[in-house]
Subunit: 337 residues, 2 copies
């Protein structure tokens, strides 16, 4: 059974192909009679519109790529979910692109094939703003996350520094004074970690606490196992802290494990905070105090900016900050609780 085409339907219904197209597309100005006749032909022949033809004719695919480092990291998976939801409301589907390394990030930016997707949502981790700016790009894209973006590029993120300050203040309010930081990549910290560290530092300084580099533990970014090992080693090496700001929830979960193994109680002996508020954060014991980005808003804004670009907007890059909040849970309870 050869595939049924628009023209077959047209012939069968005795109308022009364009009219069939109009019916399929739901164009308003089609008389009820014609519409019914065409619809019958469609049903009788079992016609299905072919997206490839349409894509070529319209120059659109109604697909967006989401380029995230690694879907196995819950934060990205959960964010992808939200983006998929919001995008589907506008009739867009999502193409997965796991970047997983600098080369792949570069490849995504300068994809040598056009026309696959209408736009890209990209969370760079390894690439710097300048490098991003250099790569030509024929597809509209919007950057997500903490990496600073070049002038011409849209960018949506939360205020990491402010959030980190907030975390420190939360801990200080709890009476903690020796506040460590866990999860800095080594030897080169990611931009994400950098910003969070800056906020951490600012938070300490704001309260007259000295920044003690021995309290900064590297290793274990977005990797609970590694975080557990790193923190474990640090603890065994004499790390004396009464709170730990973790770079992300996975690091925090690793921290929980390392502490539990050593009989250190959370939050009694050491308070812990995570970051991202992944679903799991509320289910572990103790549940994690964490920074939650307003991801619905993040997705909404990022897609709006992207859609504008797709529609031809070509102005300067817009940099948008979406809200975040500190969710206090057992690992570093609110002062009231």
């Amino acid at each position: 059974m050869p595939n049924v085409r628009l023209s077959d339907v047209a012939k069968h219904a005795g109308v022009s192909t364009k009219t069939v197209s109009n019916v399929v597309r739901g164009y308003v100005h089609v008389s009820p009679g014609t519409r019914a006749r065409v619809q019958r032909a469609i049903d009788e022949l079992g016609y299905r519109p072919n997206a490839r033809g349409r894509n070529l004719a319209t120059g659109r695919t109604r697909m967006l790529a989401v380029a995230f480092p690694d879907l196995r990291i819950p934060y990205f998976a959960e964010l992808a979910h939200v983006i998929a939801q919001v995008a589907s409301e506008s009739g867009y589907r999502l193409l997965l692109e796991e970047s997983g390394g600098p080369e792949v990030e570069r490849a995504i930016l300068s994809a040598d094939e056009a026309g696959i997707v209408d736009g890209v949502l990209f969370q760079p981790v390894w690439l710097t703003s300048t490098e991003i700016a250099q790569h030509r790009r024929d597809v509209p894209f919007v950057l997500l996350g903490e990496n600073s973006a070049p002038l011409g590029t849209d960018h949506v993120h939360i205020d990491n520094i402010a959030a980190a300050v907030q975390v420190v203040e939360h801990l200080v309010a709890l009476g903690r004074r020796r506040i460590a930081f866990l999860g800095v990549e080594s030897p080169v910290p990611s931009q994400t970690s950098r910003l969070r560290l800056i906020g951490y530092q600012q938070g300490l300084e704001r309260h007259g606490l000295r920044v003690d580099t021995s309290l900064i533990v590297s290793g274990g970014a977005a990797d609970a196992g590694a975080a557990s090992a790193s923190l474990g080693a640090a603890l065994d090496g004499g790390l004396a802290a009464d709170a730990i700001v973790c770079r992300d929830d996975l690091a925090a979960m690793g921290a929980l494990r390392a502490l539990s193994e050593r009989g250190i109680r959370v939050p009694d002996d050491i308070a812990i905070t995570g970051w991202d508020d992944i679903t799991m954060a509320s289910s572990v014991r103790p549940s994690l105090t964490s920074i939650r980005a307003d991801s619905a808003q993040l997705a909404r804004r990022a897609l709006d900016l992207l859609f504008e670009r797709i529609d031809g907007f070509d102005g300067l890059g817009r940099h948008e900050v979406v809200g975040h909040s500190l969710v206090a849970r057992e690992s570093a309870p609110g002062t009231t609780s």
Copy 2:
């Protein structure tokens, strides 16, 4: 700057469009001289092949859809990651389709638009085999997971029943006798839960243990929070168990929390097993004994079957079983440890 097309390159290089196409495609029979000349033209004009045109001409898109219930569930996110890896080795990209409900599952099966993807990997949860068989499908697809598949459809899965038996035997070897099961959906259990329950039951019977329905706790499938609540209520209601087989790792994590809240020690008082061996399983404390599907193999086989279908194979459905293993960890340690 109007987009550069194949024909522009051809003109610029003084060759036919097909020759340019041959160069771009890496076709062997192109003389070095011509190839160089064309390549120069490509570089000079900044030409990028347009996928839409190619898709239409070839009738392929080199994209596959992965239709999973919910990416926020770590097992699916991690599986999607593996599939993406394997697929990309064959030059395929992945389109995300979160099914999230029976209607969407149905929509995915009988998608009324053709030509978006070359094939679909589908893990149905709500749809039954008969329903799946009824839906016409113009795109090749392969089913993943436990739901039984219709005769004409390929299907890759692990042996859930055997794995569940194995779990029970592991617990019995640990000396546990009152083995509960947590995470059955209510009122209608998913096929997944059904199979695991069957295996659970078989395992018990094999050791002369009575199946006690009061030990079967419903609620909390793939939802740690709900699992914690369900189990908590059961415990408070007098559930007396010395081991709990959880439907999945998320349920197990919920169980850990519920038990910890009540001061019940794991595994001393109650041993716990999970299922899926998500990344987190090894990082929580106690780490989770879990069933690990050989997901690399799962992805590999599923894609191979799918590729065969895409290449025109039209035989009966193949049903393949891939391996699994029980990973013993702290929550239900091996007898040797």
